[in-house]
Symmetry: C2
Subunit: 214 residues, 2 copies
DNA sequence: TAGATTGTTAATCGATTAACAATC
DNA sequence: TAGATTGTTAATCGATTAACAATC
């Protein structure tokens, strides 16, 4: 409890470090200095060192960082040293896209179930996983030790379903619904607001065009 | 050119303001004070006023903000006063999910074309829009005045396709590939890194659990 | 050992919050 | 007019960058 809180900004950058280190690993690079990494990632070397030192001293003076070691350590920090059971709620296009994407499994996120409000989808399978009815949801979470639920349903249903998830004891919600979820602090919410993202793009395009008009 | 640059943090919050104002509008709310809005959105009233005043004085002392007016004005700032032609590149699950989602159209993002590297998909239609071959891409952008391309292809192809888009004169890329795109500054990139987002969720869950262990 | 590069402290910069005069 | 609430300046807080001693 006495470790200084890690700032959001730092946490937001961790997955990106992890990704670049993974690529270096694939390329067979053995070690890298904060300075070289900073050039690759377009950030300052100072920031890299500061960020990493929030979690410990992973480097060595005069040498830099061992890529494999640092990759593993950041993986541990991100919680990848054990697997995470996940479910998807909402078997629409986006839910199916997530279900069909195999990439998450490689990082240890195991898809255990898919749920949908439409009872007619019951039993239909995606990648061998049957779609279940919502009334099974609460007990399913408990019995299968589900940690994370991806919420790919319209915002009209999102709050209601989120409440069921909370009651079921879910630990994290990956929220794709176009709404913010206000939940007890023991349930972590990570939202992906696609519409917001597109608007940001739109703003930046407009603003660039106005700039260059002058 | 002499307007002070708007900070990223502010830009990142604009779509959220827009969203909340849209909801208030739907609820028939006519006016709102920064203080009331701050309670709804869980931010400080001061921040709301500061953010808005980057773009102009939209409120009125003693009254607050007119919801409809402010919503419209933020819409203009976000570039929603005209429509945007978009294409989707990559007709996989995610590309199809985006194509099938009608919500963007309502904000003026008009899907004009879908492209895929797999020639066998040529002619297959999604919501009435035929999938095209990649070799049509460059000329299609020019002839249909495409502003934005959503890139829903694997990272192995992303850089190569992005280069074609740039040559074609695209203005913005909505990047879903699991890689960063380094492009000329006249092409705006907005990335949605789903894997990074999931890792952040994973981190926050782990970190919360470690906290409460103590 | 000399050179390289970290870990970490100090300086700077920017963003958020607080306060309040202006004004509807 | 009195009350409410903005627009805006000033104060605070936090995050980023710079610098350098420690050390491999």
């Amino acid at each position: 409890m006495e470790d200084r809180e890690i700032s959001r900004a730092v946490i937001g950058r961790l997955p990106r470090y992890y990704r670049y280190l993974g690529e270096l690993l694939d390329e067979g690079v053995e070690r890298i200095s904060s300075s070289d990494l900073s050039k690759k990632m377009h950030v300052t070397a100072s920031q890299i060192r500061q960020d990493l030192n929030n979690f410990g001293g992973f480097g060595q003076q005069g040498y830099g960082y061992n890529v494999k070691y640092l990759h593993t350590e950041i993986g541990k920090i991100l919680g990848l040293s054990h697997t995470h059971n996940i479910i998807i709620i909402g078997a629409g296009n986006l839910g199916q896209a997530l279900a069909n994407y195999g990439g998450f499994e490689k990082s240890g996120f195991i898809l255990k179930g898919i749920f949908d409000v439409n009872p007619r989808l019951e039993g239909v399978t995606i990648r061998g996983i049957p779609i279940r009815r919502m009334d099974e949801l609460r007990s399913f979470i408990r019995h299968h030790e589900i940690e994370i639920a991806a919420l790919t349903i319209p915002k009209s249903k999102a709050v209601e379903v989120a409440d069921i998830l909370v009651e079921g004891g879910i630990q994290g919600i990956w929220n794709f619904a176009h709404t913010d979820l206000i939940l007890p602090e023991n349930v972590i919410v990570e939202s992906v607001h696609l519409a917001d993202s597109l608007l940001k793009l739109s703003y930046n395009i407009s603003s660039y065009n106005h700039e260059s008009e002058k």
